[in-house]
Symmetry: C2
Subunit: 167 residues, 2 copies
Protein backbone atom coordinates (compact mmCIF):
# COMPACT_ATOMS: atom_id res chain seq x y z
CA UNK A 1 0.00 0.00 0.00
CA UNK A 2 1.32 3.41 -0.95
CA UNK A 3 0.43 6.93 0.18
CA UNK A 4 1.21 10.38 -1.18
CA UNK A 5 1.66 13.47 1.03
CA UNK A 6 1.91 16.96 -0.49
CA UNK A 7 4.10 19.46 1.38
CA UNK A 8 5.80 22.85 0.98
CA UNK A 9 7.64 25.36 3.18
CA UNK A 10 5.84 26.02 6.45
CA UNK A 11 3.87 22.78 6.63
CA UNK A 12 2.41 22.17 10.10
CA UNK A 13 5.01 19.78 11.51
CA UNK A 14 2.76 17.44 13.51
CA UNK A 15 0.17 17.36 10.72
CA UNK A 16 2.90 16.05 8.44
CA UNK A 17 4.84 13.81 10.81
CA UNK A 18 1.99 12.14 12.66
CA UNK A 19 0.31 10.64 9.55
CA UNK A 20 3.72 10.04 7.91
CA UNK A 21 5.14 8.05 10.82
CA UNK A 22 1.76 6.38 11.40
CA UNK A 23 1.73 5.00 7.86
CA UNK A 24 5.38 3.87 8.11
CA UNK A 25 4.54 2.16 11.42
CA UNK A 26 1.78 0.26 9.60
CA UNK A 27 4.21 -0.86 6.89
CA UNK A 28 3.12 1.52 4.13
CA UNK A 29 5.33 3.02 1.47
CA UNK A 30 4.97 6.82 1.62
CA UNK A 31 6.02 9.31 -1.06
CA UNK A 32 6.41 12.92 0.01
CA UNK A 33 6.09 15.47 -2.81
CA UNK A 34 7.39 19.02 -2.37
CA UNK A 35 9.11 21.88 -4.15
CA UNK A 36 11.61 20.70 -6.73
CA UNK A 37 15.01 19.54 -5.50
CA UNK A 38 15.13 20.96 -1.99
CA UNK A 39 14.16 20.25 1.57
CA UNK A 40 11.42 22.19 3.34
CA UNK A 41 11.18 23.35 6.93
CA UNK A 42 7.97 22.96 8.89
CA UNK A 43 6.44 25.86 10.86
CA UNK A 44 8.20 24.51 13.94
CA UNK A 45 11.52 23.95 12.20
CA UNK A 46 11.59 20.23 11.43
CA UNK A 47 13.33 19.49 8.13
CA UNK A 48 11.60 17.33 5.52
CA UNK A 49 13.31 15.86 2.44
CA UNK A 50 10.70 15.31 -0.29
CA UNK A 51 11.00 12.14 -2.40
CA UNK A 52 9.74 13.82 -5.55
CA UNK A 53 8.79 17.19 -6.96
CA UNK A 54 5.21 18.49 -6.90
CA UNK A 55 5.69 19.21 -10.61
CA UNK A 56 6.13 15.46 -11.27
CA UNK A 57 3.23 14.25 -9.14
CA UNK A 58 0.65 11.80 -10.54
CA UNK A 59 -2.16 10.00 -8.73
CA UNK A 60 -1.30 6.64 -10.37
CA UNK A 61 -0.28 3.94 -7.93
CA UNK A 62 -1.37 5.67 -4.73
CA UNK A 63 -4.00 4.29 -2.35
CA UNK A 64 -4.27 7.40 -0.18
CA UNK A 65 -3.62 11.16 -0.45
CA UNK A 66 -2.82 13.25 2.62
CA UNK A 67 -2.93 17.05 2.67
CA UNK A 68 -1.39 18.48 5.87
CA UNK A 69 -1.92 22.10 6.89
CA UNK A 70 0.13 25.05 8.06
CA UNK A 71 1.37 27.53 5.49
CA UNK A 72 2.16 24.85 2.90
CA UNK A 73 -1.26 24.54 1.22
CA UNK A 74 -1.08 28.14 -0.06
CA UNK A 75 1.97 27.02 -2.08
CA UNK A 76 0.72 23.55 -3.01
CA UNK A 77 -2.58 24.94 -4.34
CA UNK A 78 -0.66 26.97 -6.95
CA UNK A 79 0.74 23.81 -8.54
CA UNK A 80 -1.45 22.51 -11.39
CA UNK A 81 -0.02 18.96 -11.17
CA UNK A 82 -0.82 18.78 -7.47
CA UNK A 83 -4.40 19.88 -8.18
CA UNK A 84 -4.73 17.40 -11.05
CA UNK A 85 -3.50 14.56 -8.81
CA UNK A 86 -5.98 15.60 -6.12
CA UNK A 87 -8.85 15.62 -8.64
CA UNK A 88 -7.78 12.19 -9.94
CA UNK A 89 -7.72 10.69 -6.41
CA UNK A 90 -11.17 12.13 -5.72
CA UNK A 91 -12.54 10.93 -9.07
CA UNK A 92 -11.22 7.42 -8.35
CA UNK A 93 -12.95 7.43 -4.96
CA UNK A 94 -9.67 6.78 -3.16
CA UNK A 95 -9.25 8.09 0.40
CA UNK A 96 -8.28 11.77 0.46
CA UNK A 97 -7.51 13.18 3.91
CA UNK A 98 -6.99 16.89 4.61
CA UNK A 99 -6.38 18.58 7.95
CA UNK A 100 -6.44 22.26 8.97
CA UNK A 101 -5.42 24.48 6.01
CA UNK A 102 -4.98 21.33 3.87
CA UNK A 103 -8.50 21.91 2.56
CA UNK A 104 -7.18 24.92 0.61
CA UNK A 105 -5.79 22.37 -1.87
CA UNK A 106 -9.24 20.76 -2.11
CA UNK A 107 -10.86 24.18 -2.63
CA UNK A 108 -8.54 25.01 -5.52
CA UNK A 109 -9.03 21.52 -6.96
CA UNK A 110 -12.77 22.20 -7.20
CA UNK A 111 -13.79 18.93 -5.58
CA UNK A 112 -15.87 20.10 -2.60
CA UNK A 113 -19.26 20.87 -4.14
CA UNK A 114 -21.95 19.22 -1.99
CA UNK A 115 -19.45 17.47 0.32
CA UNK A 116 -19.44 17.55 4.12
CA UNK A 117 -16.09 18.65 5.52
CA UNK A 118 -14.25 20.49 8.28
CA UNK A 119 -11.06 22.59 8.43
CA UNK A 120 -9.18 25.25 10.38
CA UNK A 121 -11.81 27.80 11.44
CA UNK A 122 -9.92 30.66 9.76
CA UNK A 123 -10.70 29.23 6.32
CA UNK A 124 -14.18 27.81 6.97
CA UNK A 125 -15.83 30.58 4.94
CA UNK A 126 -13.69 29.61 1.94
CA UNK A 127 -14.72 25.96 2.42
CA UNK A 128 -18.37 27.01 2.38
CA UNK A 129 -17.84 29.25 -0.66
CA UNK A 130 -16.40 26.22 -2.46
CA UNK A 131 -19.74 24.45 -2.01
CA UNK A 132 -19.01 22.28 1.03
CA UNK A 133 -21.12 21.91 4.14
CA UNK A 134 -18.85 22.92 7.05
CA UNK A 135 -19.12 20.92 10.30
CA UNK A 136 -17.26 21.87 13.48
CA UNK A 137 -16.21 18.31 14.44
CA UNK A 138 -12.83 16.71 15.16
CA UNK A 139 -13.15 14.58 12.05
CA UNK A 140 -15.72 14.51 9.24
CA UNK A 141 -15.99 11.49 6.95
CA UNK A 142 -18.00 11.91 3.74
CA UNK A 143 -17.43 8.93 1.50
CA UNK A 144 -13.74 8.88 0.57
CA UNK A 145 -13.16 12.38 1.98
CA UNK A 146 -11.74 12.67 5.52
CA UNK A 147 -11.15 16.10 7.08
CA UNK A 148 -10.07 17.46 10.46
CA UNK A 149 -9.59 20.91 12.02
CA UNK A 150 -6.22 21.14 13.77
CA UNK A 151 -3.26 19.19 15.26
CA UNK A 152 -5.07 17.87 18.33
CA UNK A 153 -7.61 16.21 16.04
CA UNK A 154 -4.80 13.98 14.67
CA UNK A 155 -5.73 10.87 16.70
CA UNK A 156 -9.31 10.94 15.37
CA UNK A 157 -8.08 11.90 11.87
CA UNK A 158 -5.77 8.89 11.61
CA UNK A 159 -8.29 6.54 13.24
CA UNK A 160 -10.75 7.38 10.45
CA UNK A 161 -8.07 7.15 7.75
CA UNK A 162 -7.24 3.58 8.80
CA UNK A 163 -10.95 2.72 9.02
CA UNK A 164 -11.44 4.01 5.47
CA UNK A 165 -8.54 1.83 4.33
CA UNK A 166 -10.19 -1.19 5.93
CA UNK A 167 -7.14 -1.95 8.06
Amino acid sequence: MKALILVAEGVEDLEFFYPYYRLLEAGWKVDVAGPKGRSVAGKHGYEIEPDLSLADVKADGYDLLILPGGKAPETVRLDERALAATRAMMAAGKPVAAICHGVQVLISSGVLQGRKATCWKGVRDDLKAAGAEYLNEEVVVDGNLITSRRPDDLPAFCREIFKALGT
Copy 2:
Protein backbone atom coordinates in the same frame (compact mmCIF):
# COMPACT_ATOMS: atom_id res chain seq x y z
CA MET B 1 -5.69 0.83 29.33
CA LYS B 2 -3.71 3.73 30.75
CA ALA B 3 -0.26 5.12 29.98
CA LEU B 4 2.02 7.57 31.77
CA ILE B 5 4.42 9.93 29.95
CA LEU B 6 7.03 11.94 31.87
CA VAL B 7 7.92 15.36 30.43
CA ALA B 8 9.68 18.62 31.31
CA GLU B 9 10.78 21.80 29.52
CA GLY B 10 12.56 21.08 26.24
CA VAL B 11 11.07 17.65 25.57
CA GLU B 12 11.61 16.51 21.97
CA ASP B 13 8.26 17.44 20.48
CA LEU B 14 7.77 14.51 18.09
CA GLU B 15 9.01 12.03 20.68
CA PHE B 16 6.24 13.26 22.97
CA PHE B 17 3.45 13.83 20.47
CA TYR B 18 3.83 10.77 18.28
CA PRO B 19 3.39 8.20 21.09
CA TYR B 20 0.84 10.45 22.85
CA TYR B 21 -1.44 10.81 19.82
CA ARG B 22 -0.80 7.18 18.86
CA LEU B 23 -2.14 5.97 22.20
CA LEU B 24 -5.14 8.33 22.04
CA GLU B 25 -5.84 7.06 18.52
CA ALA B 26 -5.92 3.51 19.94
CA GLY B 27 -8.40 4.56 22.64
CA TRP B 28 -6.00 4.71 25.60
CA LYS B 29 -6.20 7.07 28.54
CA VAL B 30 -2.89 8.93 28.81
CA ASP B 31 -1.61 10.89 31.80
CA VAL B 32 1.18 13.38 31.18
CA ALA B 33 3.27 14.25 34.23
CA GLY B 34 5.45 17.36 34.27
CA PRO B 35 6.67 20.20 36.46
CA LYS B 36 4.11 21.28 39.02
CA GLY B 37 1.31 23.54 37.87
CA ARG B 38 2.59 24.84 34.57
CA SER B 39 2.78 24.02 30.89
CA VAL B 40 6.06 23.10 29.23
CA ALA B 41 7.35 23.98 25.77
CA GLY B 42 8.99 21.36 23.59
CA LYS B 43 12.37 21.98 21.89
CA HIS B 44 10.42 23.00 18.78
CA GLY B 45 7.95 25.19 20.64
CA TYR B 46 4.83 23.05 20.98
CA GLU B 47 3.03 23.68 24.27
CA ILE B 48 2.11 20.74 26.50
CA GLU B 49 -0.25 20.94 29.50
CA PRO B 50 0.62 18.20 32.00
CA ASP B 51 -2.25 16.41 33.74
CA LEU B 52 -0.34 15.99 37.00
CA SER B 53 2.87 16.96 38.70
CA LEU B 54 6.00 14.78 38.57
CA ALA B 55 6.09 15.16 42.36
CA ASP B 56 2.74 13.31 42.61
CA VAL B 57 3.56 10.49 40.20
CA LYS B 58 2.95 6.85 41.15
CA ALA B 59 3.21 3.72 39.00
CA ASP B 60 -0.12 2.34 40.29
CA GLY B 61 -2.77 1.91 37.64
CA TYR B 62 -0.54 2.38 34.59
CA ASP B 63 -0.02 -0.27 31.91
CA LEU B 64 2.81 1.53 30.11
CA LEU B 65 5.47 4.15 30.84
CA ILE B 66 6.92 6.33 28.07
CA LEU B 67 10.07 8.42 28.45
CA PRO B 68 10.54 10.83 25.53
CA GLY B 69 13.86 12.56 24.88
CA GLY B 70 15.15 16.05 24.18
CA LYS B 71 16.33 18.18 27.09
CA ALA B 72 13.52 17.02 29.41
CA PRO B 73 15.13 13.86 30.84
CA GLU B 74 17.90 15.90 32.51
CA THR B 75 15.12 17.52 34.57
CA VAL B 76 12.94 14.43 35.04
CA ARG B 77 15.91 12.37 36.32
CA LEU B 78 16.30 14.80 39.25
CA ASP B 79 12.82 13.96 40.56
CA GLU B 80 12.85 11.11 43.08
CA ARG B 81 9.15 10.32 42.56
CA ALA B 82 9.67 9.96 38.83
CA LEU B 83 12.60 7.58 39.43
CA ALA B 84 10.59 5.57 41.98
CA ALA B 85 7.70 5.23 39.52
CA THR B 86 10.13 4.10 36.81
CA ARG B 87 11.66 1.47 39.14
CA ALA B 88 8.16 0.26 40.10
CA MET B 89 7.11 -0.14 36.46
CA MET B 90 10.31 -2.07 35.71
CA ALA B 91 9.93 -4.25 38.81
CA ALA B 92 6.35 -5.07 37.78
CA GLY B 93 7.56 -6.11 34.32
CA LYS B 94 5.23 -3.58 32.67
CA PRO B 95 6.27 -2.10 29.31
CA VAL B 96 8.70 0.81 29.72
CA ALA B 97 9.63 2.62 26.50
CA ALA B 98 12.40 5.23 26.27
CA ILE B 99 13.62 7.07 23.18
CA CYS B 100 16.70 9.23 22.58
CA HIS B 101 17.76 10.98 25.84
CA GLY B 102 14.82 9.30 27.62
CA VAL B 103 17.25 6.61 28.78
CA GLN B 104 18.81 9.17 31.14
CA VAL B 105 15.80 8.58 33.39
CA LEU B 106 16.45 4.82 33.24
CA ILE B 107 20.14 5.38 34.04
CA SER B 108 19.32 7.43 37.14
CA SER B 109 16.68 4.88 38.14
CA GLY B 110 19.37 2.18 38.23
CA VAL B 111 17.38 -0.33 36.19
CA LEU B 112 19.71 -1.02 33.25
CA GLN B 113 22.22 -3.52 34.66
CA GLY B 114 22.54 -6.40 32.17
CA ARG B 115 19.81 -5.09 29.82
CA LYS B 116 20.10 -4.62 26.07
CA ALA B 117 19.14 -1.09 25.00
CA THR B 118 19.73 1.77 22.59
CA CYS B 119 19.62 5.58 22.87
CA TRP B 120 20.80 8.84 21.35
CA LYS B 121 24.47 8.28 20.44
CA GLY B 122 25.62 11.25 22.52
CA VAL B 123 24.70 9.40 25.73
CA ARG B 124 25.57 5.83 24.72
CA ASP B 125 28.67 5.83 26.95
CA ASP B 126 26.47 6.68 29.94
CA LEU B 127 24.13 3.84 29.00
CA LYS B 128 27.09 1.44 28.94
CA ALA B 129 28.42 2.80 32.23
CA ALA B 130 25.01 2.05 33.77
CA GLY B 131 25.52 -1.62 32.91
CA ALA B 132 23.51 -1.91 29.70
CA GLU B 133 24.60 -3.50 26.43
CA TYR B 134 24.29 -0.74 23.80
CA LEU B 135 23.01 -1.73 20.36
CA ASN B 136 22.89 0.69 17.41
CA GLU B 137 19.44 -0.37 16.13
CA GLU B 138 16.23 1.58 15.44
CA VAL B 139 14.50 -0.26 18.25
CA VAL B 140 15.76 -2.72 20.87
CA VAL B 141 13.32 -4.91 22.79
CA ASP B 142 14.64 -6.69 25.89
CA GLY B 143 11.73 -8.17 27.80
CA ASN B 144 9.51 -5.29 28.96
CA LEU B 145 12.12 -2.67 28.00
CA ILE B 146 11.74 -0.94 24.60
CA THR B 147 14.29 1.67 23.47
CA SER B 148 14.98 3.71 20.34
CA ARG B 149 17.61 6.24 19.22
CA ARG B 150 15.95 9.32 17.71
CA PRO B 151 12.76 10.79 16.19
CA ASP B 152 12.92 8.92 12.89
CA ASP B 153 12.87 5.63 14.82
CA LEU B 154 9.36 6.51 16.08
CA PRO B 155 7.47 4.22 13.66
CA ALA B 156 9.52 1.18 14.79
CA PHE B 157 9.38 2.33 18.43
CA CYS B 158 5.57 2.48 18.50
CA ARG B 159 5.21 -0.72 16.45
CA GLU B 160 7.15 -2.57 19.17
CA ILE B 161 5.25 -0.82 21.99
CA PHE B 162 1.95 -2.05 20.58
CA LYS B 163 3.39 -5.54 20.05
CA ALA B 164 4.50 -5.60 23.69
CA LEU B 165 0.97 -4.61 24.73
CA GLY B 166 -0.44 -7.49 22.69
CA THR B 167 -2.70 -5.18 20.69
